[in-house]
């Protein structure tokens, strides 16, 4: 029974890794080759700058390939089984017989000593015994019950043999009926002394014109031979495996195959590297005066996290209003010829070898001190793989924002023309361009699930109806339906009281007067389902605003300081300072009021966000 179980397992898996049996017919391992498409690197320095198709092709001339395995980098092993069909031979274990003459098999009349025997068996009760006393040739064939087959199909044949014979031994033939004629496909070696049942196998491909397959079993000497558990199956899958790798980085692949006899190929190894994305994360744009007030040295950092930055690839050009993008022949002289659309090389050095580099231009004369005119610069850089990127345009006198004490985030990308200064982390669902952050941590391509909806927080809180269209006079949570304008009347002396409230506006809000809270114990949280517009004259606002619509700071040349925070579906930050002031001062400052975390903890927190239920 144990023997039967072992055999059944072997046949089911088709791997035939039976350690207590002898594999006399196949002792060589399969051979695997790896092909990459494209066959060689498409970028520079051995890097691919596109995804790569990999094909592992395995072959085994004897028993055939049973399994192909590969390990990419440190990931788990991927395996492909080379499957064969069900057994196509009728009465393969000779269990069906009449008076010990097996069904579906024929013998010549002189081979009368071939019969079904219960003496030994691999599976079932019987095997086929050659009690060969008559030399030279005794054979059994199933030619009359051949398996229907077609041209160029791959099959796997196996059988178990136990023999003790002298003379020319015992063997088998795989035959094909080709265009009506019998044709030998394979003849096994002769076996003489296999005291245990021995597993024999062969993988083969049928020739053109094949109509059927059959097997001849031979005994060519004197002695006993037993055949049992024959198998013939069509291999239904390719002995190759293909896959695509698009992940950037240096990849290492180990691969090997195993044949049907259990021989395992020695592991092959290969490596390749992919960098598809060009340099990105242009940040820390800065400039210093060098000579007159419009001659500047400009700098920026650029990153390529995969192959790194190619130091000699850096370039820059700048924009002179009325002329266009290019460079002056003499960067310090606006009377020298202007080379339209041309680029110059800056100095590039590594900050972090080789992924992050610092680009510094020579001193550039921007020709005049008219800061109303647009003065811009842009950069080029390649990564070591040869991918080139052009930076966004960085305006030298463009307005910029300053955000401090907490984080800045966008559920899309962040793209500031003039570098924003953020004292906190920066989160974005896309790229982040034009931000200097302290600490220098930017969380890109991250889809946050933080709820930004004012309507949500309104629905989560029990609110008192605000009786009048003005800010409340006592602590609490309020709701007003309609549009509200905060002016000298509707502010309602809120800025002269120690008061902490949540005010929900089911409508839009306009702030037309400065609003500064009285002290550190005061707070104002406003939930606005519409838009929040800040009038041009307003310069200071206190409060934390969650807005379902647009937050618009208004078009003004006055700086706006928000002591609190702003969460809005969209932001329009339109302020720009006069003359040269944008060089040194932010047009909008978002200064988080940390008092809020203590003064307002009970205002918005709900039982849901501080209570965690578990069943034990």
């Amino acid at each position: 029974m144990k023997f039967l179980l072992i055999l059944t397992t072997c046949l089911t898996s088709l791997f035939f890794v039976c350690v207590n049996q002898v594999f006399a017919s196949d002792t060589t391992s399969p051979i695997s080759t790896l092909t990459l498409d494209p066959p060689s690197s498409t970028g520079q320095n051995g890097w691919y700058n596109q995804s790569v198709d990999l094909l592992i092709n395995s072959s085994d001339s004897d028993s055939g390939v049973a399994k192909i395995s590969y390990i990419l980098d440190s990931k788990s092993t991927v395996e492909k089984l080379v499957e064969a069909s069900v057994n196509l031979i009728d009465n393969p274990s000779f269990e069906e017989h009449h008076n010990y003459i097996p069904f579906y098999w024929d013998r010549p009349t002189y081979s009368s000593d071939i019969y079904v025997s219960p003496n030994y068996s691999v599976d079932g009760v019987y095997s086929l015994r050659f009690k060969s006393n008559i030399w030279p040739v005794n054979y059994m064939t199933n030619a009359s019950y051949m398996v229907t087959a077609g041209s160029f199909e791959t099959y796997f044949f196996s059988a178990w043999l136990k023999t003790k014979i002298i003379g020319f031994g015992t063997n088998y033939e795989i035959m094909a009926k080709v265009n009506g004629q019998n044709q030998l496909i394979y003849r096994s070696p002769s076996y003489y002394n296999q005291s245990n049942f021995t597993y024999l196998n062969k993988t083969f491909t049928t020739p053109s014109g094949t109509q059927g397959l059959f097997v001849n079993l031979y005994s060519l000497g004197w002695g006993d031979s037993y055949f049992d558990s024959l198998y013939l199956g069509k291999i239904t899958s390719e002995s190759s495996i293909s896959f695509n790798v698009s992940e950037e980085g240096v990849h290492n692949i180990n691969y090997f195959a195993q044949d049907q006899a259990g021989n395992i190929e020695q592991t092959n190894n290969s490596s390749f590297k992919i960098d598809i994305a060009p340099p990105s994360t242009w940040q820390n744009f800065d400039y210093t005066q060098s000579g007159n007030d419009h001659t500047l040295i400009l700098s920026i950092d650029v990153t390529d996290v995969t192959s790194g930055i190619d130091l000699i690839s850096g370039q820059f050009q700048y924009y002179i209003e009325g002329i266009g993008w290019g460079v002056y022949t003499d960067l310090k002289s606006c009377s020298s010829p202007f080379l339209l659309d041309q680029w110059r090389n800056p100095t590039v050095s590594y900050i972090t070898l080789p992924t992050k580099a610092h680009i510094v231009t020579p001193a550039i004369n921007f020709c005049n001190s008219n800061w109303i005119q647009d003065k811009k610069i842009r950069f080029k850089a390649k990564d070591i793989a040869g991918n080139e990127a052009i930076s966004p345009e960085f305006s030298i006198n463009s307005p910029w924002i300053y955000a401090t004490n907490f984080d800045v985030a966008s559920n899309h990308s962040i793209q500031f023309n003039s570098t924003a200064l953020v004292d906190g982390y920066v989160h974005s669902s896309g790229d982040i361009v034009g931000v200097n952050s302290m600490p220098n941590i930017q969380i890109k391509n991250y889809n946050s699930s933080v709820n930004t909806s004012a309507q949500y927080y309104i629905s989560e809180n029990t609110l008192i109806t605000l009786p009048e269209n003005k800010l409340p006079e006592t602590d609490g949570k309020y709701k007003f339906v309609g549009n509200m304008t905060l002016d000298i009347k509707t502010i309602n002396n809120y800025d002269n009281k120690t008061i902490c409230t949540l005010v929900a506006i089911d409508g839009s809000l306009t702030i037309s007067k400065d609003l500064i809270l009285k002290d550190s114990s005061s707070c104002l949280i406003m939930l606005v389902t519409g838009n929040l517009n800040v009038s041009n004259s307003v310069e200071n606002i206190s409060g934390f605003f969650i807005i379902d619509g647009v937050f618009d700071t208004g078009s003004s040349n006055k700086a706006l300081i928000i002591n609190g925070g702003v969460v809005a579906d969209k932001t329009v930050l339109s302020r720009s300072l006069k003359g040269k002031a944008n060089l040194d001062n932010p047009s909008e400052t978002f200064n988080y009021s940390l008092n809020l975390l203590f003064n307002a903890s009970g205002l918005v927190s709900t039982i849901e966000n501080s209570t965690y239920w578990y069943e034990l």
């Binding site: 924002i401 793209q415 003039s418 982390y425 809005a568 975390l597 501080s610 069943e615």
Partner: protein, 324 residues
């Protein structure tokens, strides 16, 4: 072959009738057995749901109390945790109330202490008690560790660190072996009259780092199987609170450990355990027989502003970038 005729087929009809009758009877008995078992299952399910509702009503009573603190005295949890215990509190001898137990609300007997409740179906004096629950409450403060079973990504846990000194360490488990949460830790401390902020970020696995761009979150100092730990975070002089937020994935088994002293108790929150039973006395093993018992644990953390308040500027649109 023998043919059946009207005369000789009467016996066959009788036999067939008996066979049909036996089959019908067997089918009927099977159906009846099925209905009985189904009814019993439904009854068991209803009883179990009822036990859960009873235990939850106990928690609601604590959460709804104006002074939860009193429960930590009356219903003090006598062990570190009951997370790994069976549904029944292991209290030794069954609870025996001393003296008269007053009837309070309709049919509700409130024991002293208030952590054990029995309820009648009706207000009749002699009506039997039919359900009960037992509460245990423990402050999250006063210990050198603060434990959260789990913390969802992009939500904030706030812990008071007021008057603490030394370091804290945060450790947590990933959702799976490859999907580790990153952690942001924000400390608010007082410098003179002003509040100030310090921020820390920890990324336990390069696998969760692939989308973070060049300025990746710094790694943790130890990576021991699934459990990862931050480096020691030195609490600032004047420390007030820390806010902990997982990114990328939920953080499991979050443990915040103080190097010296304990986390303050005031306003820190509670662990509430409530065991409900569809029996007269959940603490009496005899009463619990043939009844359903369910147990819930609720962590009530310090009241705090939700995670949206960790941003000074947030553009929520998924179609328009944040620009200037």
């Amino acid at each position: 072959m023998k043919l059946l005729t009207p005369k000789n087929n009467e016996g066959a009809i009788l036999i067939i009738s008996i066979i049909i009758g036996v089959i019908a009877l067997a089918a009927g008995l099977t159906a009846a057995n099925f209905v009985t078992r189904s009814t019993r299952n439904i009854t068991d399910q209803e009883s179990s749901i009822k036990a859960l509702a009873i235990s939850e009503s106990g928690v609601e009573k604590v959460l709804g109390a104006s002074t939860i603190n009193t429960y930590t005295t009356k219903c003090l949890l006598t062990t570190t945790t009951r997370d790994n215990e069976s549904a029944i509190p292991n209290l030794g001898a069954p609870f025996v109330s001393s003296g008269a137990i007053p009837l309070t609300l309709a049919g509700v007997k409130s024991s002293l202490p208030d952590c054990f409740f029995q309820e009648k179906l009706s207000t009749e004096v002699d009506a039997p008690y039919v359900q009960s629950y037992y509460l245990e409450v423990s402050s999250k403060g006063g210990k050198d560790t603060y434990i959260m079973d789990s913390l969802e990504k992009d939500t904030v846990l706030e812990i008071s660190t007021k008057d603490m000194t030394g370091n804290i360490t945060v450790s947590w488990n990933g959702s799976t072996s490859t999907n580790y949460a990153s952690i942001l830790v924000t400390e608010i401390y007082k410098d003179g009259l002003d509040y100030k902020v310090k921020k820390y970020a920890y990324n336990p696995s390069s696998k969760s780092n692939s989308e973070q761009g060049s300025n990746a979150l710094p790694g943790v100092t130890s990576l021991n199987g699934a459990i990862v730990s931050t480096s020691a975070i030195l609490l600032s002089t004047g420390t007030e609170i820390i806010r902990i937020k997982p990114l990328y994935f939920d953080a499991k088994d979050v443990v915040i450990t103080a190097s010296s002293g304990t986390f303050p108790s005031n306003g820190q929150g509670f662990d509430i355990y409530s065991t409900g039973c569809t029996c007269a006395n959940v603490l009496d093993p005899e009463s619990r027989k043939n009844s359903s018992v369910r147990k819930v644990k609720v962590i009530k953390t310090r009241e705090h502003l939700p995670a949206i308040f960790d941003f000074v500027l947030y553009s929520g649109s998924e179609t328009v970038p944040l620009t200037k």
